[in-house]
């Protein structure tokens, strides 16, 4: 069952007791998502934390020219949400879209708050989870302000080799903040070396 995978994931942080497992179980909803299907669109309110059981998603914004900019990918055992809209309860300016057919588990805000209040362990787990995510993002910002596109691309390949194989280069270019044409040029330069 899919929630077993989520429980196993939490156990890597802090082992859950039976009571926590069953409460979690009853507060999580499983969904099957098709390729290209959205689980969040601009002007929606983001009501869930989404855990990816299988498949892959992207979180992105769209600029005034209609160009997409990838903020985050999430595949197996990763979380994805628009934390800004989730917190504020206001309309999102982002999209979450399946890149592959996927299975997810979603937890609603009320249920997450319930877990926080009845089992403080979840405060701890989610604190550590987001601290790790924060660290990752901080490294990305440092890369963005200090490295060339080529360096960022090579770093991406090194850090996410599996994703790099799974994703079309257009999606990687969007994540790196460059055009697909320029990424193509970089790839040729790298091969030549």
């Amino acid at each position: 069952m899919a929630t077993d995978q989520l429980i196993a994931y939490f156990n890597t942080y802090i082992p859950l007791r039976e009571s926590e497992r069953s409460e979690l179980n009853s507060r999580v909803v499983e969904r099957k998502i098709k390729r290209r299907q959205f689980i969040l669109q601009e002007n929606d309110i983001c009501k869930h934390y989404t855990f990816v059981v299988s498949g892959c998603f992207k979180l992105y914004g769209v600029d005034k020219n209609g160009t997409e900019h990838n903020l985050q990918f999430a595949s197996e055992n990763e979380w994805i949400t628009d934390i800004s809209s989730f917190h504020s309860g206001k309309e999102s300016r982002l999209y979450i879209e399946a890149i592959e057919p996927s299975i997810i588990l979603q937890i609603e805000k009320i249920n997450l708050i319930y877990l926080y209040h009845h089992h403080p362990k979840f405060d701890r787990i989610f604190r550590v989870m987001i601290e790790n995510k924060f660290e990752e993002l901080q490294n990305r910002v440092l890369q963005n302000i200090s490295s060339t596109a080529e360096e960022r691309y090579l770093a991406f390949l090194a850090q996410y080799p599996t994703l790099a194989n799974r994703l079309p280069n257009t999606q990687i270019a969007s994540y790196l903040g460059i055009t697909p044409e320029f990424l193509s040029k970089l790839r040729r330069i790298i091969v030549k070396k």
Copy 2:
């Protein structure tokens, strides 16, 4: 007293009980820091969370050419730390330096862990704090991959007007990921408009 300011800060998240206040009080150390003084240097291990009571700091990395790249500023009522080194216990690759004469409160890792274990409220508070920081960083990444330097500069002025007045432009340029010369050029273009 300086810890009153920290307690007032925490109270904006969740009010602290007397027991929590006194435990916090005894686990926090006040320091006075001079302009240009470091509270973290490359290859140090980051042992503290630092709360800025007054003054201003920058967190930055230095690249192979010796150029500094500002990851974060922190002024009154903000936290600054190298969360990566703090967590892993490994040597930091970053610097934290006072931009102004400052007063800070530092909490050591053992003491923070003590607070987490005896008062789960701190798990909650730090979770929410870092969720907010995560959101901020995510917006910055989106800016970095989708906007021009001019747009990023104007957004910085709008988002941090006080900081923008307080900081030399060289520091802002470093934060935006551009050279001071180019920022100067942008400023002239903006004024002309």
